[in-house]
Amino acid sequence: MKFSTYLKERIGFVGINGIIFVVLLIILMVFRTKLIVILMLGVTWFLPLMSYMIIEYMKYKHYYQELEETFENLEIKYLLTQVIKEPSFAEGKIFFEILRKTNKSMHEQVNKYEGMQKEYKEYIESWIHEIKTPIAAVNLIIANNKDVTTQKIAQEIKQIECYTEQALYYARSNDVNKDYLIKPFTLRKVVMSVIQDHSTMLIQHRIMPEIGALEEVIYSDYKWVKFILNQIIGNSIKYAKTQSGTLKIYTHRLAQCVILTVEDEGIGINEKDVERVFDKGFTGENGRQFIKSTGIGLYLCKKLCNKLGLGLTLESEAGVGTKVKLIFPVSENSRVD
């Protein structure tokens, strides 16, 4: 707070004092009072007045400056009332109290919604764990009664499994930081596991995997990386052309990273849609035309990649195929082995 601002606030008070003093001055001059007396009067009048105002200004200035600085430096702004001191002056006290109360009521509101969200998330997670038991049961029944009908059911169940998994990871995606474990593993291990999971569907769609050496060791969370690859390869199957195709999976080693490329010969994505594939709920023209797409899979992949510090890019040409690149940073340390 500048002194001029402070003074402007008190213009009336200073003005009235000034006017009364001038009036008094005129009266005294009419009665031919000595100049020294007038001077003394002026000093005794204005010295305490001015010094009081300056002291008060200093006090205000000190408080507000501290308040502003604290506010600027505070990362979580709404915690302000918990870190500042209560002001020593009355107006300040009133505002401080009101601010504290509004804050408290906001916290209560936020807590309420946090609680609701947490409860919902827990429900979704437990529901998914529940649904896995009947799915496992159906898989066993199918394995025990293999025929044309159950094979068809098996495919549908596989879809249900994929969607269930997606829902689980979606629910968890906001706290990746609470559920991960960085371990070294080869890209071969995770890619093979995903291919095995999808083998029935790949064979059904006559998609042949062509898999490179994939011997690079990366440091990341196996489960999350597997989920991301599951979505990418799941898309390659979902958006396959009706005739057969290949699914190429290979790596490039660069100085700072390993790039894992998944290249399919599917229906591809229109040029104008490519940029938006990672947007939530976005379904491109091809996505809507050929198959009901949800616009969740790639959005979730991108979100998880950001959290895990991985890169994810997509190139595609309609009618030709899609190339998805997953980029794993490699630090000097991990290059040792």
Binding site: H129, E130, K132, T133, P134, I135, A136, A137, V138, N139, L140, I141, I142, A143, N144, K146, Q151, E161, D179, Y180, L181, M192, I195, Q196, D197, S199, T200, L202, I203, Q204, R206, M208, P209, E210, I211, D221, K223, S244
Partner: protein, 233 residues
């Protein structure tokens, strides 16, 4: 009905501890079909007593049980026995996996498991614990013997070497003799061993395999059922 007959090998006994009745029964049927001896607990009052009584070679343990949870059971078993335990759970966080391993489980499989993967895990844990009989893994079919250890097939003192694809195909058909095996299923079996073959390659492999076995003197060993698959009747 037993679909598989392991040559000389003795059958391993698997104990299923699972409270969902459907899974328990289907899993039992499934493992019986694959040539294991199977026991399943029907009551969970005295699990530990039952376990020591049954003397299984491997335990499939569900985590969510009434009364005690699987982790507790696992730890209690470990106090007295080193029997291999595979924990089966629908939870799949890192925590669950770490806890299972810390409580002495040998492996950890998440529901809904792929049945083939479950079989592979069981086989691998059994192999790790009781050793592999690489020499003795022989499959027999009407005098035709397939040695899984070295990939040769023999008939009346004559033997011939098979390629990896060929003996995987023959092995699977022999294990499932009497059942029609769809082409897709055969391809999946090969894919599981990272042999990614397509439809044409499978036809070529099966024809070559037929030729080799016929050269040994066996008439029409693998029959084609049009539109359905192959069968060794």
């Amino acid at each position: 009905m037993k679909r598989k007959q392991w040559g000389e090998e003795e059958m391993h006994k698997i104990l299923i501890i699972e409270d969902t009745q459907v899974i328990r029964e289907e899993l039992k049927t499934f493992l019986l079909n694959y040539g294991y001896e199977v026991e399943a607990l029907e009551s969970f009052e005295n699990i530990l007593g039952a376990i020591s009584h049954i003397e299984a070679d491997l335990i499939l343990l569900d985590i969510n049980l009434p009364l005690y949870d699987g982790y507790y059971i696992c730890r209690e078993i470990r106090k007295t026995s080193q029997v291999p335990i595979i924990i089966v759970t629908s939870r799949d966080s890192e925590m669950d996996e770490l806890m299972s391993m810390n409580f002495g489980a040998d492996d950890f499989v998440t529901k809904p498991y792929n049945t083939q993967i479950l079989l592979a895990r069981i086989a691998s844990v059994l192999k790790r614990t009781y050793g592999a009989n690489t020499q003795g893994e022989l499959l027999n079919y009407n005098g035709l013997t397939l040695n899984l250890g070295n990939g040769t097939v023999s008939y009346q003192q004559r033997s011939i070497e098979l390629t990896k694809n060929e003996y995987k195909i023959l092995g699977y058909l022999m294990k499932n003799k009497g059942s029609i095996i769809a082409r897709e299923e055969l391809m999946e079996v090969l894919w599981k061993s990272e042999l990614f073959i397509d439809d044409n390659t499978l036809s070529v492999n099966v024809n070559r395999l037929r030729k080799k076995i016929e050269d040994l003197g066996v008439e029409n060993p693998i029959e084609t059922r049009r539109g359905l698959g192959y069968i060794m009747p």
